[in-house]
């Protein structure tokens, strides 16, 4: 059970609780260069795949693909699932899994768009979406950390009940948003220096997630718990509390994503977030986060999301139908992972 990523785990022991910033920065500086090289190769190979896709887009539909509006479109479509994936990356890096993300997004978006919630305006919608997400995360975390439930089962149960509750609230209806402030945020007038607000939120969550994972004790503890929970516990980490926080974090990301989805689609529906769990897990794994835990990369996850969204975009621009899209998507996932593992292996030997 020894994982290749011992340096971060080894950097944790002084985590008696008081010191938060200084030790990580120091150990980062002394970390073996091999770690950086390897991360770079992984990231580079992902960038290579993305570049190949961009070339494919430019060749097949130059005027429609190579366009600022299309860049905005791809980034906007990536933003909602991207925020979910950032949360998922933390959970997976710590050796867990969160199957409930899609259902939690659905429940949050539905709860945030009821007539009663909308009476409280913009803040009401935002607050409800985030708090419902956090609440689901709290239940997940408590069941897993203190109820000793397997993450797979606990979050599967949450998946079922959150979808059920979302259906109960909507009764199958589409809840349309009438709050002007929320609707306006998804329109062209809301662009900040040409950037859609949803993309800005995505960027902010990505940066915050990267800092949290790579520059704080919290991030080191996350990776340590994922690498070897028992060793982490012996090293003085409160593993259970850490796990609780991680599912809370994933819930928070789902809440934010739900609000973004409400802004984007102008409505709340119990079918929202369909299969987000699979998309988020796939993006994180392609990005280089280990499914068994012990390693997580936010940059990789975000690149994974962008690769998926770009594929969808290119297919749609070329008017490919669903059957072709699905087959090709599967093939490209396999190709991306193969290319990546090949490059990494070559670099290490």
């Amino acid at each position: 059970m020894t994982h290749p990523v011992s340096p971060p785990a080894g950097g944790v022991p002084p985590a008696s609780g008081a010191e938060k910033q200084a030790p990580p920065a120091e150990s980062r500086r002394t970390a073996p260069p091999a770690v950086f090289a390897r991360l770079d190769v992984r990231t580079l190979s992902l960038l290579g795949v993305l570049a190949a896709l961009v070339v494919a887009g430019c060749v097949t539909r130059p005027e429609a693909f190579w366009d600022v509006d299309n860049l905005r479109l791809v980034l906007t479509q990536a933003s909602v699932i991207g925020v979910v994936t950032v949360g998922m990356t933390f959970v997976i890096a710590a050796g867990g899994i969160d199957l409930s993300v899609g259902a939690v997004v659905a429940l949050s978006s539905v709860w945030a768009t009821t007539v009663a919630t909308q009476e409280f305006g913009f803040t009401g919608v935002l607050f409800t979406a985030v708090v419902v997400g956090l609440g689901c995360g709290l239940v997940n975390g408590a069941l897993i950390a203190y109820g000793a439930m397997v993450p797979f089962i606990a979050t599967l149960a949450m998946l079922a009940s959150a979808r059920g509750l979302a259906l109960l609230i909507t009764e199958g209806r589409t809840q349309r948003v009438t709050v002007e402030g929320v609707l306006d945020l998804g329109g062209r007038e809301a662009y900040v220096l040409g950037v859609p607000p949803l993309v800005l939120v995505f960027a902010a969550v990505t940066v915050a997630g990267w800092l949290l994972l790579n520059r704080t004790t919290f991030g080191r503890r996350t990776v340590a718990v994922g690498g070897n929970a028992e060793a982490a516990r012996l090293a003085g980490i409160d593993v259970r509390r850490q796990r609780l926080y991680l599912y809370l974090l994933s819930g928070l990301c789902c809440g934010i994503a739900a609000f973004m989805l409400v802004v984007l689609s102008g409505s709340g529906q119990n079918t929202n977030g369909n299969l987000y769990e699979l998309d988020a897990i796939a993006a994180a794994i392609i990005g280089g986060t280990l499914l068994s835990g012990g390693r997580g990369t936010i940059v990789g996850s975000v690149l994974g999301v962008l690769i998926f969204t770009t594929i969808t975009n290119i297919f749609a621009l070329n008017n490919a139908q669903s059957d072709v899209q699905q087959i090709a998507k599967g093939a490209i996932i396999v190709a991306a992972v193969l290319v990546q593992s090949r490059t990494v292996r070559n670099e290490l030997t």
Binding site: G172, T174, L264, A316, S322
Partner: protein
């Protein structure tokens, strides 16, 4: 030829004789039997024999399915002689089978079944029929005609056909007109039928070309995502047909976000929000093609007539028909007021 004329003669002769008989019947029976003029007993609003109707449908996780349940409930509520035993809808085949078997054991008089999956529930339909409980199969058809007494459903091919003809008539004078299709879930047979109908209708208009088609998933979220891509892919087109008004909410959002105008949009299914947009006439949505949820009310009517052993008013037969296909009418500004009460949200 003489053969033909004589057959025709025979036909006319029979018709004349029957008409005469009918007239004669009318005069002679006037006092005794009232004004119907035939011995057909048609189901009407007057209370008759008490009928218990068991209703099993899928989980109402979509506006249309929700409307189906409401239509069935409201229709049953209109009749003092009808008791409706409605199950908690489920998308799980095993659960739905269990629910229907419970209704069979309760010995309801007639069953109305909207299966989550027609093929998977065929055996259950057969079981009910064998237990002498006639089944009215609603919309999603069983794989064996022995599994139901009567099928009531929508016309997916007709939906595409009518949408295509509506768009065709609007664009027939536009040279090199471009049309875009936002389809529903491609895994479903009904989506393919809708697309086929649409394509067949467009073949009548040589100046119109379908330049793009993308499939969404009947959800607002997928409608927004796929429409945004379609708009980026097609900088200019003249008409759009969207299979489903629920995903249309997302499609309209994407159109609004992209600031696109200058084309005609036709929806599908008949959501209240679509009717309101058509009535307001302030956007691209100009019409929608029905897939009427009122078919559930018709199913209740047919089940009641079946339970009371009557025919249907307006039809000559002594029994209810074996198949009823609801028409996919086009609703636009000219007739939207009439349909407003049946719009679902």
């Amino acid at each position: 030829m003489p053969d033909l004329t004589s057959r025709r003669g025979l036909l006319f002769g029979t018709a004349a004789v029957s008409a005469g008989a009918l007239l004669a019947g009318c005069t002679s029976n006037e006092k005794e039997k009232g004004s119907t003029g035939s011995s057909q007993q048609a189901a009407d609003d007057k209370p008759g024999k008490a009928v218990t109707i068991g209703f099993a449908g899928p989980q109402a996780d979509h506006g249309w399915l929700n409307a189906i349940n409401e239509q069935a409930r409201a229709r049953a509520g209109r009749y003092s002689d009808v008791t409706l035993d409605i199950t908690e809808g489920s998308n799980d085949t095993a659960t739905q089978i269990g629910q229907i078997e419970t209704l069979i054991n309760k010995k309801v008089d007639v069953l109305v079944i909207l299966p989550a999956d027609g093929a998977a529930l065929t055996q259950t339909g057969l079981k009910a029929m064998r237990a002498n409980i006639p089944v009215v199969n609603l919309d999603r058809v069983f794989s064996s005609p022995q599994a139901f007494r009567c099928w009531v459903g929508g016309d997916n091919y007709g939906m595409g056909l009518n949408a295509g003809h509506y768009i065709g008539e609007k664009l027939k004078d536009t040279p090199d007109a471009k049309v875009v299709e936002l389809a529903g879930l491609d895994n479903l047979e009904l989506t393919r039928q809708r697309t086929k109908g649409f394509d067949d209708a467009l073949k009548n208009y040589p100046n119109i070309k379908k330049v793009a088609r993308q499939a969404a998933e009947f959800t607002v979220e997928s409608g927004q995502a796929k429409m945004a891509q379609l708009l980026q892919a097609q900088p200019k087109f003249d008409a759009l047909w969207n299979h489903d008004d629920d995903q249309g909410v997302g499609a309209l959002r994407a159109i609004d976000q992209a600031g696109r105008k200058g084309f005609l949009m036709v929806g599908g299914a008949g959501a209240l929000s679509a009717f309101e947009a058509i009535k307001a006439d302030d956007g691209v949505l100009k019409a929608t093609v029905l897939y009427p949820p009122t078919m559930a009310a018709s199913a209740i009517d047919l089940a009641r007539a079946l339970g009371q052993g009557k025919g249907v008013a307006g039809l000559a037969e002594f029994e209810i028909p074996s198949q009823v296909t609801a028409y996919s009418a086009v609703v636009d500004k000219s007739n939207v007021d009439q349909y407003m009460p049946v719009g679902f949200d």
